[in-house]
């Protein structure tokens, strides 16, 4: 479980997060929604240690993540699939997965087999350079690379970005399955609010760095004001 309390983050004079408090429960998907510049990506980067907060706390179960280096946070079991997927194009599919498996406690081959079973297309393209994969395949690779390390927390930043609607639907289904079968704590940052709300248990809406809604996903999806003013979901 991730618990965030009073988190503020600045980029010089610009305050990206202003006293954000929220939690993400184990085995549940928490969607973080909002328009461009709401602070969603900054929130994930702060959780994974890439950005140092000005104030506030972040805890994973009973361990503080504040002032920890990103590599240490990764080793604690936080997987982060960054915006743009972050696959290494010069590496083959298998090399990307081997890199992800560096922190895994299971044998490499068992981890690879498991991911190839979950994402069969990656098995077919294991020797291919990641730069040659389609957007959807790259997203699968990014998720498989995070999952092979057996994280307890998975941070996903705009996984549907640039994907066709059908691929996005499949991807959301996969995220839902992964969360359930691995008892993962998932924090899903999305601009595509309708897709995210379909699979999320809980939703947090950010606007200009502040939390404007923090409720179960069904309630957020049903709230006309939130849909219209903050999520751009005009009927």
């Amino acid at each position: 479980m991730i618990t965030i309390d009073g988190l503020s983050v600045s980029f010089g004079a610009v305050q990206a997060l202003r006293g954000v408090s929220m939690s993400a429960e184990t085995g549940k998907i928490t969607a973080v929604l909002g328009a461009n510049g709401a602070g969603k990506t900054t929130l994930l980067r702060t959780i994974s240690g890439l950005k140092e907060p000005a104030t506030g706390s972040i805890r994973m179960d009973d361990r503080s993540l504040i002032h920890e280096r990103p590599e240490n946070i990764a080793r604690m079991g936080v997987g982060h699939v960054p915006e743009g997927r972050g696959v290494i194009g010069e590496f083959t599919v298998e090399e990307n997965l081997r890199l992800g498996a560096m922190m895994a406690k299971v044998p490499l081959q068992a981890g690879l087999d498991e991911q190839y079973e979950q994402f069969p297309v990656l098995g077919e393209r294991r020797k291919q350079h990641a730069a040659k994969l389609s957007g959807g395949e790259r997203q699968m690779l990014a998720m498989a690379r995070a999952m092979i390390a057996k994280p307890s927390v998975l941070l996903l930043d705009e996984p549907s970005l640039g994907l066709a609607p059908l691929v996005t639907a499949q991807l959301m289904h996969t995220i839902h399955d992964l969360c359930g079968s691995n008892n993962l704590t998932v924090i899903l940052v999305e601009q595509n609010a309708s897709s995210a709300l379909r699979i999320a248990d809980h939703a947090v809406v950010l606007h200009l760095g502040r939390v404007v809604a923090n409720d179960v996903a069904a309630n957020v999806a049903a709230n006309e004001d939130l849909r219209q003013y903050y999520l751009g979901m005009v009927e």
């Binding site: 890439l50 590599e71 972050g86 560096m102």
Partner: protein
């Protein structure tokens, strides 16, 4: 049928060029290792291994034999590379590209001056365990000796070992990942700072092996400037092959060595630097980012 004397001369040039080319290739490889991991062109890449070689081979004066001194030189190379990265280079990351160039040129001058002050500029002969006398075939010198074979075999072993490290080991995977995508690597638990230090250590150790081979040559000896000309040709090889490409560095290094050997034999030994520069200019005109590199051109 080809004249046996001409055949022997060509064979001798190819083997001589191959020996020099392996040295250029190793220097180019060490430059590429640092460039790929930190984006810095290390102009002290000849001087740092020279210093390590003096530290290690200097123990010959204390009645230590050749091989332990070589091992100590390599360890000193690892240490100098690591300390340089931590103390001098780390503050240069993210700075304008001219800053590391100026600092590393300054470091080169300082190291050579300090080495001259401590060990003098008089060449110090190293007692190579291999004979420099050319083998004979039919009473004619063949262009290969025990010593040149030692240089070639060692060079090839180092190249294969570096390639295997990068291709087949966990450490190599992390070194490559840290260089290509530092932020993503950190998110996957890779200790990027440690990998950058290791990259410098490895590069200086490879440079030290090259320096030991060059300085062990009966006709060269160890001086503070021993690597200056080799560095220049290694630099040209790295630029031609592509600063991002270890394979390119090696192929360009060996090719340059063989071309220059023929130039020296059939034209004039003074023409080799001119030909080397023409080789560089033409190659960069054809492919500005290097013949083997996959990335786009980068300002240096």
């Amino acid at each position: 049928m080809m004249d046996p004397i001409l055949t022997s001369r060509i064979m001798s040039d190819v083997l001589g060029g191959l020996t020099n080319g392996v040295m250029y290739g190793l220097v180019a490889l060490s430059l590429v290792l640092v460039w790929r991991s930190t984006g810095i062109l290390n102009f002290a890449q000849g001087a740092m291994p020279m210093f390590a070689t003096y530290l290690g081979m200097g123990l010959l004066s204390y009645h230590l034999s050749y091989w332990p001194c070589v091992a100590i030189s390599i360890v000193a190379g690892f240490a100098i590379g690591g300390v340089t990265e931590r103390v001098l280079v780390r503050s240069l990351y993210g700075k304008p590209e001219i800053n590391p160039v100026v600092v590393m040129v300054g470091f080169l001058i300082v190291l050579e001056a300090v080495a001259s002050a401590i060990w003098s500029t008089t060449p110090r002969g190293l007692p190579s365990p291999f004979s420099p006398i050319d083998w004979q075939i039919g009473g004619k010198p063949f262009g290969l000796s025990d010593f040149t074979l030692y240089e070639i075999v060692t060079g090839v072993i180092v190249m294969v070992a570096v390639a295997a490290l990068f291709r087949f080991t966990k450490l190599g995977l992390q070194l490559r990942a840290a260089a290509l995508a530092p932020e993503v690597s950190r998110l996957l638990g890779v200790r990027v700072g440690r990998m950058l230090t290791l990259g410098w250590m490895l590069s200086t150790a490879v440079g030290t092996i090259t320096t030991v081979l060059v300085a062990s040559n009966y006709f060269t000896g160890l001086t503070p400037q021993v690597m200056d000309s080799i560095f220049a040709f290694g630099f040209i090889a790295a630029a031609v092959g592509g600063l991002d490409s270890p394979v390119g560095a090696l192929v360009a290094g060996v090719s340059l060595g063989i071309i220059l050997q023929f130039v020296s034999d059939y034209l004039n030994s003074n023409a080799i630097i001119i030909v080397a520069l023409i080789f560089l200019i033409v190659s960069l005109m054809v492919r500005p980012s290097g013949l083997f590199t996959k990335s786009s051109a980068r300002r240096v």
